[in-house]
Symmetry: C2
Subunit: 442 residues, 2 copies
Amino acid sequence: MVQVPLKQFLLNGQITEAIENAATMHPADVAETLREIPFEIQMEFIAKLLPERAADILQEMKLDSEADILSELEPTKAAEILRQMYTDEAADLLAELPEEDSEELIALMKDDGEEIKELLEYEEDTSGGLMATEFVAIREEQTVEEVLAQLRQQAPSAENAYYIYVLKKDQTLAGVISLRELVVSPLDTKIEAIMKRDVISVPEDMDQEEVAHIFEKYGFLILPVVDEEHKLIGIITVDDVLVVAEEEATEDIHKGASITPLETGYDGTGILTLFNKRIFWLVGLVFVNLISSGVIASFEKVLSSAISLVSFIPLLIGTGGNTGSQSATLIIRALVTGDVKVSDWGKVFLKELLVGICLGLVLGLTSSVLGIFRGGVEVGLVIGLTMVSIVIVANLIGMLLPFGLTLLKLDPAVASSPLITTISDATGLLIYFSIAAIVLKL
Amino acid sequence: MVQVPLKQFLLNGQITEAIENAATMHPADVAETLREIPFEIQMEFIAKLLPERAADILQEMKLDSEADILSELEPTKAAEILRQMYTDEAADLLAELPEEDSEELIALMKDDGEEIKELLEYEEDTSGGLMATEFVAIREEQTVEEVLAQLRQQAPSAENAYYIYVLKKDQTLAGVISLRELVVSPLDTKIEAIMKRDVISVPEDMDQEEVAHIFEKYGFLILPVVDEEHKLIGIITVDDVLVVAEEEATEDIHKGASITPLETGYDGTGILTLFNKRIFWLVGLVFVNLISSGVIASFEKVLSSAISLVSFIPLLIGTGGNTGSQSATLIIRALVTGDVKVSDWGKVFLKELLVGICLGLVLGLTSSVLGIFRGGVEVGLVIGLTMVSIVIVANLIGMLLPFGLTLLKLDPAVASSPLITTISDATGLLIYFSIAAIVLKL
């Protein structure tokens, strides 16, 4: 959907032609094209647009690019553009700027600035941080005709007009009515006769992941946010939540590989930050790994009398780690999506015990053949028995750790693949050398 | 938001009271309560509801539970309920049933059945599989007043009335108008004067992950689906996409641990299926692991003359595996979300080279201290040098493999943590023994 001409006009510096060309394009497509254009030309283009159009396009860009452009614009121009944005977008953007810049802009935004200032006080990843203050509020004693007239006058943006909130005198939420119901009702109907009274709302401090779950559960397009006294203070639209869902998935995926989640995308994260997000876990795991080294050191005599056992170490502990990663990943995701509850642990234990036995038997058989081929029947027996035991045990470790962490009110995602692998390495070695010592009578 | 009384009424078998109690509850909350109730009581409750209410509640349940209930109901009752569902929901549900059951129900649904039959022909994970056929279509020569009258008569559900599609005589898409624009325009305005002409639509065979990206990019609530001739054939609402986003995230997370993605949630997946989804990769990785065994076997002489080297194997290859998992996970996710493009590989290579050097230096220093403590200065030197090299190399393997897979038009997620760990094990051992042979002059 990206049109080639716009890019060409921009690259040639033909800003007027570019503006004309972009006029019928969706702001998201214009924003996509701008990503591939040098910053100076982006600036020149945005500066020449009407504030409303500039706001539409900026809102579709990445937050850090938006902030770069905004801080280079004339402050009065920047404030004008900010006033045309949705309040939630404007607040997110101002939060990216240095404090003195953002204070200057808020002052220039006058009345609108006050509203933004309040929004900035909410934690970024809560319902308060997600919400916008553009909602349509009416009274229950109004008629359909009066409300329609009010809508014509206020001309709210399309998305925010779909649900109209009915407030009591003290601003608390009394009901909700959809634009469709309004349209299909006789003009003299009183709102109180047609409004829905049980409005599902969220408190201002709810975690954004929970907000996303509520949208998903009820299939809502818009969710009202209320304060402690049940007063309506904002609305969250589902499109913001779609972005949250992707962010949360990325966070979960990063945690699964022992990476402290990045705040910006990979592309926007510098080398030092990447280093910081990774080194903590890697060094920590080195110390967990020392247990494995200790196990080997204490069995050194066994090993030197049967050196061929060493060559099976990566195979055995590697397979154990892979099995444990699988079960940990399955369980963590099931706990996060609510597919499995903590109280289900007994049922899940049994299930993974059985799955582990099946996996262990197939893997044990495969590797015992490899063992016989390399070191005879006795070695084959050791390898086969060890593999069965390691797979079953590692599978259960991978399953139990996320449950245990959840019970201790910790994040189950701490049971990442690297941690599970490292723990099952040590366990696997202990199993291996014990079985070898018994079977080979070392 | 789940009310305790409903559960009690149901458990006591007081179905009439339960129906009364549930009347003001959101269908999603009723469905949540039903999950905790024995199947026979669920059946009795659903069977006694009016078809419309039963449809609302069933649509909020998990697909497999829905299918269980539907197949136990009287076929005429089941068909009546299906007719009250959104067509996309009804089609998904019928696809779960055995073919002869679904054919019987479709026949009982009469006209509505025909529509469902057509929907069932689309692939489940494409735009055609996601879409519903309930949309409001008008002509450009109609006036606002005529369209409002049509809406009153058709009484479409709230979500589908927000965007009204303007079709040409041949059913192709000419424009779109939002309900809000309709409401704020004078009654005698012609639709063609106010409709938006550049409608963004998706083809019927687009992959659902791509559909989700379009919703996210443009912030749409509804997206029209067109066939090859640009005729409007259905609409997708954003709430369905929110479910898709979670499914796709789960798939990506499972792939990251070398698990073939489950079609149903963990809870609904049997032991044999879990086994099947996991064993393929585990056995495959055993064979990759044989490379490590081969490396050790070929260095057996070196090892038997310095048996203490063995105890560092898990530490060195484990850390390499962890580092590689981290970089592979970061890159795969960045490629999936579009944060990094394939053409960026050179830039990313440089970035990961630098990050790898930083990580390697810290980890090398830490582990050389451990090496000195255990085996003297020379061993410390071997361990430190090996650690630096392994970390840098494993980090680059983790980064290069996803790019390489994408270039070969394969899924980058194949570069899962277990695969990367297994490959860097073999590489790490080769590095370790080579450095040891040189430094210790073995």
